[in-house]
Structures are given as C-alpha cells and as structure tokens.
C-alpha cells in the first residue's frame, strides 16, 4: 500500500504558506493512486478547489501539441527532415544573425533551412518575443520579432498564420539545429498541425487527442461552463512575497482574455485549459505505451523516440542547464531525465514531461507506468520551490 501522507502534508503546507490552491494526481497503469485538492479556486468568494476546476496550462500545452505532432509523424504525414518551407513557403529564405568580434551583427543567409526536427526539438533559433516569467526576453532576435509583430499586436486579434508569416522575416539567432532556444518553435509546430490537419491547431488537438482520451474538460478554448470552472488567475503583487498579508491580486479581465477565450478570439495559438483528472488520462497514455482504456492512441516505440534526448552535451551544458532543468535532456517537445544525481530526481531515467509558466507540471515515467500531474495557477509561478519538492515527495510515495 502506498502511503501519501507526506504528499498531503507537503501540499497542505504549500497552501498554508500562501499558495492559493493546488491539486495533484498520481496514477499507475490506469489506476489513480493519489488525488487531492488543497486551498481555493477563488479566495474572495470562498470557493474551495475541487476536481471540477480547470487551470490555465500555458506551456504545459506543449506536451499535448507535440504529442499530436509525433502522432502525425508515425502516421507518415511528414518527415523530420522536411524543410519548414514545404509547409510555409514564406520560410524559404531564412537569415541568421552572426556576431562579429567587434560586436557588430551581420545578417546572412542560413546554410541549411529550418526543418521539422528543429521546430520539434526547439533548435530553430527563435525565442519568444514577449514576457517570459517575470521579465521581458532580452535577445536581439527577440527584439526583431517584437518589431515584426508590432503591426499585428496593434490589432486586437490576429491569426496564427499571420503571426507565422511576419516572423518569417526575422533573422534567426543561429544556424538551425546548432543550439537549443525556447520559444517560437511552438507556434511553428502549432502551425504545422494546422496545415497538415486542415483546421485550426486547437481543433486538431481536440479531435486527435482530447476526444479519444475522453478529456471532456480540456480544450485550447472556452466552451460550455469552462469559464466558470476556471480558477482565479492570481498574481503576486510586486514587492510582496507569497505568504505576506494581502500579497495576491487578480489582473483585469481583459488581460486574461488575451490568453483564454472562445475559439477564434485569442490571438495566435491559444493554450490548453484542463485539470489534473483530464491531463492524467493523457499522461497515463504516454506512460503506458500509448494505450488508453484499451484504445491505441500512439505507438510505444514512437513515445520512446519522443523521449529520446536530441541535444548534444554542449547544447545541454550551454542552453539547457539551470537548477530547475538539471538532469534532463530534451527530446521532441519534452524534457527527458538523463542524470538523476544531477537532477536530484528520484524518478526513472527516461521519465519525461514539461511545465506551464502558470504553475502546472506533468511527467510520465514509462518504466513505472506512472504519471504525476500537478497544478496551481500563480504568477510568478515559483516553480522551482513547489515543483521540485512535489516531485521528490510524489516519487518517494511510490511503492
């Protein structure tokens, strides 16, 4: 019998120490071993967090999106070596920035075009052009992207295809495939789903993944009563610490509407809204060879490819190492555990997953058939403190 009292204690302490609310589900071979909910979905209205509530996933969307891409890969819909311009003709003549010794930057043509592999393993050379975590992205390519995006951002709404088109003119940060850089590869991948799927990426994800997995509370857009079930979007006030009196605030509704809304209202590619129950179905499928409830979703061997590290030692050392990511390499859209000692990680080598900038976290451990899904919504998300502790305790509770 697994004993989860220490996990209960830890998550209880998270909320005691100021986190608005959090939830966690651990499942193994199709069975939920642990499920609990702590704190509030809405502090002001005294609504406790329950299994009904849903969370903003931000980048945790990437696991679903890259899973759909890898499903298309195993359906033979594209090759990793395909140049991106086969799908987006305006990306035929990419340029890159080259820094001279005196600091001047030259813009020169790339040696080889961006391929699908580069957008699936984040090596295409484009960061995000917006705020990441607390601070704006400081990168010359990022500034060029922001400039290219300015006319679109002035409009209230723009499509993913429009966004992809304007960014095609931006010089890349480096020769594609030579370094890892988190960012716009995700929009390009969403665009690929759209081109191959022949409908908006948000609908492709729903049709290929959320529907067959019975994830009835999940979508990249609001529907039914989802908006009412969404937890409040708490931010820590500047100058305050979590746990301080009056530390939390909720930004104006119009700001949330830029990220969450009905299909066709959120600019660009919109992120998933879901909860631990739904995402556990998905992560269980990934932890158990691609099968959900007897239904084959994706091949076991393809999942093994997805969680194979694609980065060189140098790329890991220079571009993919911080105290939060320590021990992991990067596969196709997911981090994958390579070195448990360095990662202070008590899961199995080959466990894989990702994080959402709003505080959600998920990992599948195929060698144990285990998935761990954790969610809170907070800005900044304080991921290192909460996720690494929760992860250690969750794996520690396994039989």
């Amino acid at each position: 019998m697994s004993d989860f009292k220490h996990l209960d204690q830890l998550l209880h302490n998270f909320v005691e120490d100021g986190l608005p609310g959090c939830s966690c589900i651990i499942a193994k071979r199709g069975e939920i071993l642990y499920e609990n909910y702590f704190g509030w979905a809405d502090i002001e209205c005294r609504k406790p967090l329950t299994r009904q509530h849903v969370f903003r996933q931000a980048s945790l969307t990437k696991i679903a999106m890259y899973t759909v891409a890898i499903m298309m890969y195993e359906q033979g819909r594209f090759l990793m070596s395909d140049p991106l311009y086969e799908y987006f003709p305006e990306w035929r003549n990419s340029t890159k920035m080259v820094c001279r010794e005196n600091g001047d930057v030259d813009i020169v043509p790339v040696e080889h075009p961006i391929t699908i592999k580069h957008i699936l393993n984040m090596t295409c050379g484009l960061p995000y052009d917006m705020i990441m975590g607390d601070s704006p992205v400081q990168h010359p390519t990022s500034h060029a992207m922001a400039k290219a995006m300015a006319p679109l951002r002035e409009k209230a709404y723009y499509t993913l295809r429009e966004q992809i088109r304007v960014i095609s003119q931006v010089p890349l940060a480096f020769e594609p495939g030579t370094r890892w850089l988190y960012g716009f590869a995700s929009e390009l991948t969403a665009g690929l789903l759209e081109v191959i799927g022949g409908k908006p990426a948000e609908q492709v994800i729903r049709d290929m993944l959320f529907e067959p997995l019975d994830m009835h509370s999940s979508a990249n857009y609001t529907f039914g009563d989802i908006q009412e079930r969404l937890v409040k979007n708490y931010h820590i006030k500047s100058g305050k610490k979590l746990g301080d009196h009056d530390a939390l605030m909720i930004p104006p509704a119009e700001r949330d509407a830029k990220f969450v809304g009905p299909l066709g209202t959120v600019p660009g590619f919109s992120r998933v809204i879901t909860n631990c129950r739904d995402y556990t179905k998905f992560m269980q499928m990934l932890a158990n060879g691609g099968v959900y409830n007897g239904r084959h979703i994706l091949g076991r061997k393809t999942i093994d490819l997805m969680r194979t590290n694609t980065l060189t030692d140098k790329m890991i050392r220079e571009d993919f190492t911080n105290s939060y990511l320590a021990g992991y390499g990067y596969g196709y859209g997911v981090r994958t555990l390579m070195d448990s000692y360095t990662g202070q990680h008590n899961g199995s080598v080959g466990a894989f997953g990702w994080t959402g900038g709003s505080g959600t976290w998920a990992e599948a451990d195929p060698s144990e058939g285990v998935s761990i899904v954790y969610m809170h919504n907070l800005q900044p998300n304080l991921e290192e403190y909460h996720h690494l502790r929760m992860r250690a305790t969750a794996y520690g509770c396994l039989e």
Binding site: S323, Y341, Q344, N346, G347, Y395, G396, C397
Partner: protein, 390 residues
Amino acid sequence: MAINSYLDMLLKDFIDGGLPGCALQITQKSKTIYEGYFGYSDIEKKIPVTNLSVFRQASMSKIPLYTTLMILYERGRFLMNDPIYKYFPEWKDTRKYVKESNGYVKAVPTEGPITVRDILSMKCGLPYCHSPSKTENHTIQAMQACMQPLWDKGHYTLREHTAAMSQGPLAFEPGSHWIYGFASELSAGLIEVLCDKPIDDVFQELLFDPLEMHDTRSHYFGDIRDRMVGLYRKTPDCKLEPCNSILDAKHLPGPENEAGWARLFSTVNDFSKLMQMLANGGVYNGVRIMGRKTIDLMRTNGLNEVQQRDFEDNYNAGYGYGYGVRTLTDRNKGNHNGSPGAFGWTGGFGTWCEADPAEEVSIVYMHNMIPNEEVYYHLRMRNAAYGCIK
C-alpha cells in the same frame, strides 16, 4: 560441505590470524540466511562475541545519517540546490585555496556557495580535522586554527563545530572534487536545523523506533556499556592491546563529553534491519520507512571522471559515490561478486555493510580494531558473503 561453512572457516581464520572478534549477518528478503559470531569481546576475560555484542560504528553512522537526509528530501524539506547558508548563515561567504603559478597559495572567494548536494555527496571541499597534529595541508591547517578555541574549551556542540569551521578556506571550488570529511558534520547539522531537534532524536523517530533498532544509539543506556566489545589496537609486532577509554568518552552522557556529532554504536542484528529496509525498497516489516525510488536516487553514482579519481583506491575500486554511500558501478574493476547498484559504507573501527536491492540482500559485518585492516578483512568477507547467495 554446506557453502556457508566456507564463510565460517574464513571468519574463524580471521580470529586465528589475530582479529579479536567479529560478527556477520546476511539477510535476504527479511530472512536471515547466515549469522555467525567469532572470537572475543574481551580477550582476557574470554567473553565471546555474540548477537548481543555492541560495536562502535564510527563512519558507518553515515548510513543512518544520509538515509535520514534522503527521507527529509523526499518529504520536500529541502532541495539539493539550496545553498547551505540558507540553513547556516555563517557559511555565506565561503573562500577556497588556489595555487598561483609562482607556487603561492592564496584564499579567494568561491564562485558559488556550497550546496546541500555538495554536503550530501562529499564535494564541499573540507577533509576531516581531528587533531592539532602538524600537517602540510593548507586546508587542514586552516581547519585546525578554526578548531583550536573549541579544543581548548574541551567540549563543544555540533552547532559550535559547524559554525567554527565556516571560517576556513576550502580545498577547492564546491562541487568540483570529492573529498571525504567534514561534509558529514554539516549534514548532521542540517538535520538538526531542518527538524529543530537533536540529531539523535531525529534518528530515533525516523529510523531506530520504526525499525526496532533497540541497541543503536550514540550514548550509553541500560546494559550497553557492558555489552560493548573491546577496542583493541594491533601493535607493530601483532599484539592486541585494549584502548577503549579515551575514544569511548563521547558515548558517555553529559554535555562535558560532547564533541560535535557523536557516532553510533550498534549490533549486526540492529544494523541488518536498517540495511534490509534499504535493500527491500524502503519497507521494514510491512512499515514503509522511505520510498523505493528515493533509495534508487541515493545509490545513483554522482562522480564525474575527475571525482572518480579522487574517490577510488584499492578498497573502493569498482564503486562510485551517490548521496552518502558508495555504489557498485563496475564489478570487473572492483572484483566484486555483488550486483551493480549494491551500496553501503565502512566504519573506521572495522565495520562494513552493504545493501543489494537487486537480490534484496543485506550484509552487515563488524569488528573493532585499530588499524581496521579493512582491505584484508572486508574484501575477503564480501567475496565469501556474496558467494553464499543462492
């Protein structure tokens, strides 16, 4: 002849060859598959070693120490990345020694702070410093200077010990090399800070009570003192002379006997319970003590090539080092007939233990002698013990 008889013969030969006494217990899946006691607890009085004999554990106390820390790790009480100054503020501005090209040695600030990972895997850059005896080692000289006021005082708490040592420059940048030593005192201190109580109370609560280790502690109680085996020193002409008194003072209750973190005494029966728990995925007698996956992390090798060279000698050949334990990585190199991933440690007075999760086997061996002649005794006993596994 039963295969265990070879083990009996070997241990009897140990005694015939001049060891005062020894004890060995091998356990698999909670069943004792070998238990043997040889020689004398007191040679003059002809008191034999038995299952009740209590041995000084010295550094084998590190197994409970680091096991406790891994339990606290899996309860989310700290992160390995945490700088230790978060728990010991006086360790904020750490310096290290660097050798300049002209040969001069100078102390400069470290690039990064010592982290909890560094003290759990012996990479903080501080050796042991037990006495003011003359040394050429700059780091030990600096440690001696830090310790002198405490030595002059005669007794000191663990907290005073860790605070005093914060002023000495380290031997290297934290995390860059492996060096055995003071990391264990910082680790013991960390337990006290995290739990806000004496380390002995934490051991009792997290390990010794749930594991029913009734004869394992750091201070005498009940009849323990009478059951302690004699500590013998082997003279150059191979005679054994008793030398208990001074070294055992730290087991006497009372603050006047305190000298930092006191090591434990235990029996092979008691220690086998701990090692069985570690060999059997964290469960003892149906009670979960810690997670199987966390034990797997504890026994994951954390040494790079440079650190492997720091660590390896004839005795540790074939092993890497995880979080507070050696862990078997190369059977060929170690001439080791156990399983990769078998892990444990040694006590400086001659005790040795290993847990082999692949076989669910634990081996606990004890003698008390100075010098402990561990290469001779432990490696032979290890070969014979694993040879008995069916």
